[in-house]
């Protein structure tokens, strides 16, 4: 018997335990994947780096998992390297709560009016849209402006004409973390928790509210304990679990 198994096996087990038809597989898998996304986002954000070449339109399509930038670096043709850093980008906290919940910016930053309150939500903070500039190392001269458009339909980095075509642009960004699928392995520690999540959501949506309440009455204490046990672990264990799931940080 394997205790470490992919989500699909856990879903198959749950189907059998509840006596469900195979055609509920997609529904339960969605619950499981949402659980993994939630659990993942509760614990760790993921920083990724991508390299792009400046196209003729000077518009770069950002990756679909882009949430916010941490750094934008440019390597101009002449070899000049320059960087823009996002000072209001919060790493996800856990123990580092002051960084997860930074105070809102009081003044105008990078030319953008900060008087409008930003949407602060758990985990991420800072600019998801906006305009900035690349400044050269050393003298701090402005080398060019850029704009990020990040909404439901468009994810673009637009560069001004100061940038050379075909030069390299590096974007270090906060990704919306792992994209779990049914072949994602789930740690034994989280399996029961994930199963409870699936069952509760199944009862709530497919059976009736009373069954969900009954399930909750029976298992919720245990479920909550399991969920929050994750947060009460000592730091080395958390690091081990996180590395087990999502690998070493870059």
């Amino acid at each position: 018997m394997r205790y470490t198994q992919p989500i699909s096996k856990l879903v198959a087990d749950t189907l059998e335990e509840l006596g469900l038809h195979d055609n509920q597989f997609v529904l339960l898998s969605r619950f499981a994947i949402n659980f993994m996304r939630t659990a993942n986002n509760d614990v760790k954000g993921e920083i990724k780096t991508e390299r792009f070449e400046v196209p003729a339109s000077r518009v770069i399509a950002l990756p679909s998992d882009f949430i916010d930038y941490t750094k934008i670096g440019v390597q101009f043709k002449e070899g000049v390297k320059a960087l823009a850093r996002n000072p209001y980008m919060a790493m996800i906290g856990g123990a580092d709560l002051p960084r997860a919940y930074p105070p809102p910016p009081a003044t105008t930053i990078n030319g953008q009016n900060a008087s409008t309150p930003f949407g602060y939500f758990y985990g991420y903070s800072g600019w998801t849209n906006g305009t900035g500039r690349i400044t050269a190392f050393g003298n701090g001269n402005e080398l060019g402006k850029w704009t990020i458009i990040n909404n439901a339909t468009t994810k673009q980095l637009r560069l001004s004409s100061d940038y050379d075509l075909n030069s390299n642009v590096y974007i270090e960004y906060l990704s919306d973390c792992i994209d779990p699928n049914t072949e994602t392995f789930i740690h034994p520690y989280m399996q029961l928790c994930c199963q409870y999540w699936m069952k509760w959501h199944y009862y709530l949506r497919k059976e009736n509210l009373n069954m969900a309440r009954e399930f909750e009455r029976l298992y919720n204490d245990e479920y909550i304990q399991m969920k929050y046990r994750y947060g009460t672990l000592d730091i080395p264990t958390i690091v081990n679990l996180v590395e087990f799931y999502w690998g070493l940080p870059e």
Partner: protein
């Protein structure tokens, strides 16, 4: 003569109280047709019974039959589909649960069920992408097979479908009496009961002399 014919004949014998008359109104062909419907009803009732008592959501496995079906292409929609053999006693259970399983590669790799329209709604950014490689949904007498993304193609040309089918092949002796009773119930519900007993006839009015 299949089991179903025997049960149909038995229902007629019970109805007529012996050998059915040659000119009788309840014919063998009619009884056999009712027997097919009766078996479907019995199977559906068994499904609901298991659902209520044991929380089982699947059709009783005695009714399951596996078919290998070739895929056809609907060029207008660029969808591959298999015909659902609905004429042979397919149990159209609620929630498409009469179709127990669809798979490919010698019935080893599963194709995942989606509600009709879920594939179109689920494109891009939902959890659908991670759930499976190929999906199917039922549309009238068709099983439409979809890839994960619009641009992907379906490399196989044959799927294996496991259907709940109520016909002479899947009928067991245990269902026999229920089928006969259901035939009689169906027949009597639409046919007026004949009364051959002359004593029960209303008296003929006497002509005035």
């Amino acid at each position: 003569m299949s089991n179903l014919s025997k049960y149909a004949e038995e229902a007629r014998r019970i109805f007529y109280g012996g050998d059915p008359p040659v000119e009788g109104g309840f014919e063998q062909a009619e009884a056999e047709m009712l027997a097919g419907m009766a078996l479907s009803q019995v199977a559906t009732e068994e499904f609901w019974q298991a659902y209520k008592t044991d929380g089982i959501h699947t059709a009783p496995s005695q009714y399951l039959v596996n078919y290998a079906v070739n895929l056809a292409t609907d060029s207008a929609r660029n969808v591959k589909y298999a015909l659902l053999p609905s004429g042979s006693g397919y149990l159209a259970l609620p929630g498409d649960k009469g179709l127990a399983r669809v798979s490919y590669n010698k019935d080893t790799l599963p194709i995942r069920y989606l509600r009709n329209g879920e594939w179109q709604n689920g494109q891009g950014g939902t959890a659908l992408f991670g759930v499976g490689t190929y999906f199917y949904s039922i549309e009238a007498d068709r099983i439409n097979v979809y890839p994960r993304c619009l641009g992907e193609s379906i490399p196989f040309t044959q799927v294996f479908i496991t259907l709940a089918v109520a016909n002479a092949t899947t009928l067991q002796q245990a269902q026999g009496w229920a089928v006969v009773a259901k035939i009689l119930q169906l027949y009597k519900s639409v046919k007026p009961e004949l009364d051959f007993v002359t004593d029960n006839a209303p008296p003929i009015q006497q002509q005035p002399s």
